[in-house]
Symmetry: C2
Subunit: 394 residues, 2 copies
Amino acid sequence: MRIDENWLKLKSPDFSAYNALDPEKKLMLVGADPFFPDPCIPDHVINATKRALDEGKTHYALDNSYAVPELKEVLVQKLRDFNGLDVDPEHELIVVPSSAFGLYVGIRICVRPHHGDEVLNIDPGFAENFNDVYQMGAISVSVPTYMEDGFQLRMEELEKKVTPQTRCLVLTHPNNPTTTVYSREVLEELGKFLVKHDLMVIVDQSFERSIYDDKEYITFATLPGMRERTISVFGTSKDLGLTGFRVAYMVAPKPIIDILKVAAFNYVGPTNTFAQYGVAAAYKDPSYVDDWNKIYEYRRKFGYEKLNGIPGVEVLMPEGGFFFWVNVSKLGTSIEIRDHLIHDANVGVSPGTWFGSNGEGFLRIMYGTMKDTSKYEEAILRIVQSLNKLPLKA
Amino acid sequence: MRIDENWLKLKSPDFSAYNALDPEKKLMLVGADPFFPDPCIPDHVINATKRALDEGKTHYALDNSYAVPELKEVLVQKLRDFNGLDVDPEHELIVVPSSAFGLYVGIRICVRPHHGDEVLNIDPGFAENFNDVYQMGAISVSVPTYMEDGFQLRMEELEKKVTPQTRCLVLTHPNNPTTTVYSREVLEELGKFLVKHDLMVIVDQSFERSIYDDKEYITFATLPGMRERTISVFGTSKDLGLTGFRVAYMVAPKPIIDILKVAAFNYVGPTNTFAQYGVAAAYKDPSYVDDWNKIYEYRRKFGYEKLNGIPGVEVLMPEGGFFFWVNVSKLGTSIEIRDHLIHDANVGVSPGTWFGSNGEGFLRIMYGTMKDTSKYEEAILRIVQSLNKLPLKA
């Protein structure tokens, strides 16, 4: 079969290990899907989607922004009020079927395939970004971050990794998996770095609505001079929990949105029409996320204390999102410990190596899954008991 | 701004001309969206989608085929009964958010970007396929078809255009815009050609359910030896009218589906979850399409007679889909005649040049739009009146 041999080398996370879990007893802290597998979307969102179906909103959504009018209006307001971004919806906004896709086309527009172009990826980071860069025929360059810094960016690491071939940087903010909410100081330094090297930045704001301890959250494009070099990608799966709706959106300078309206549209076409009405309803009244954040807040403190009580385990208090990034390197490798928890505790967690080469020795443990908090607590207690059995490595 | 300059050259159809149409009086025969803009989806499909929402089917659809179980089961049955394809749903099937996307990744997997690889595109053909090939850094090679052949394939044209750099051929079956249902004889010849040159084929079956005059419709992958070199793409937008649902699926040999599960998923993620339940319901009872086909049948004959009555205009009886491919070359260029109909008749039709270099001198006129057949008739009569005013070119 004559197929692109480079694509044969692609690998995705191997989920088969989780099949070993006893389905009756297993507790999964893996996917970033709020309260999975339990129903969790509030009535006003469900009803708005159903109403759109009843009203025959089933045709292509081919508006200039590929948005239904209601959603476009709501997004302009949300971007202004929540993000501090004033957006011209006709020229600076496009609705796409997922932030995964937004990230892909956002990076792709900056990169010339098979041209030696390089993309700076924060590592640990969101694994799909590494794959995206590889798939488009560019080179992903890892920029390490360190637990001792709370995984903030070190400018000297960026300066070490930038070359004349560098085209852009990808920033997941807050970071997935480290939960880091980047500080104003760090983001301003990053801005100077981007200007100095004339780089674009693709910012993934998927978890922007779950930020703890009243920490300041900065939408990168609002920083002075950054609007013109920022492609912002906003999802609705993580912070609004609308994973199955498949609606995301991008904000970027007009020349980029102009191209995306052709190129992104050609790849995938428009976004589900009636789901957009549900998303509009969610943004009109996102107060349910405040309730979720209270649940996350409890679970965050519970897990933080329990996990840090295990000899040889270290975890920082999460700053955003709904997961822990747990250092287990004194007990074994990511895969060893993940497998141990599968077999010994019937609990599924993600090995850190799914999140880049600097993820070795870590686990990502999701605390946003399952509605029943007592099940979550049980999962954590099982993890504690199971890891307590392991000796510290010499 | 440092962006891929090749993407700057991308152009999409320019819809601005249609904005000149008087919104009160305009009649649009442009988009391939059944009965647009009128509600048309039957209750059992709407209700199944709403039920899924009520039942909390709003999480990621992360099954092995990225399908919800109900849809997977229905697709296996539909592929067997309707297409004559026995499919292993775990290894030969993947659900994707659009046939546009299926075509893109289907072509992409055959092609090495910026490597001089060539793709054979039937011309006139579906415009996105030309763009796809350009966007992925390969070369689209047009294979002409001719009205005098009913736009069937000529093997000598294929032989003329194939080179050692050719990797695959894209076949829209029935063809969009020519409506051609390829004959068994032609498809068998095509099969020999593919074997001889060791090519893959990507087959778009978007309009497979609207075939007229009991013409034999062949799913290409069922031909002897073709299964292993065919990537079949099935949409639900055109023949089931589920344009806003964004659900499509692909059937291909296991090694290809294995790669798509990683690569396609990485690009865009899963497909809308609750919409899949609506699609399952549509396939369980697609009898409404039979009703639609009766409407199309009437409109097809009406338009065929009226349009062929215009001096200098020639149209073949459509074989599939719900549009005419109209030769107006004796009256002017595609754009000239399109613009004339906009200004003179307040009717929107598509210029043939949107469908490849061999589309010059043609118009695509959609007869599947608008529920009210009398509006369609009025649009055709306005076209007749308006084209009758034009002198034959010398």
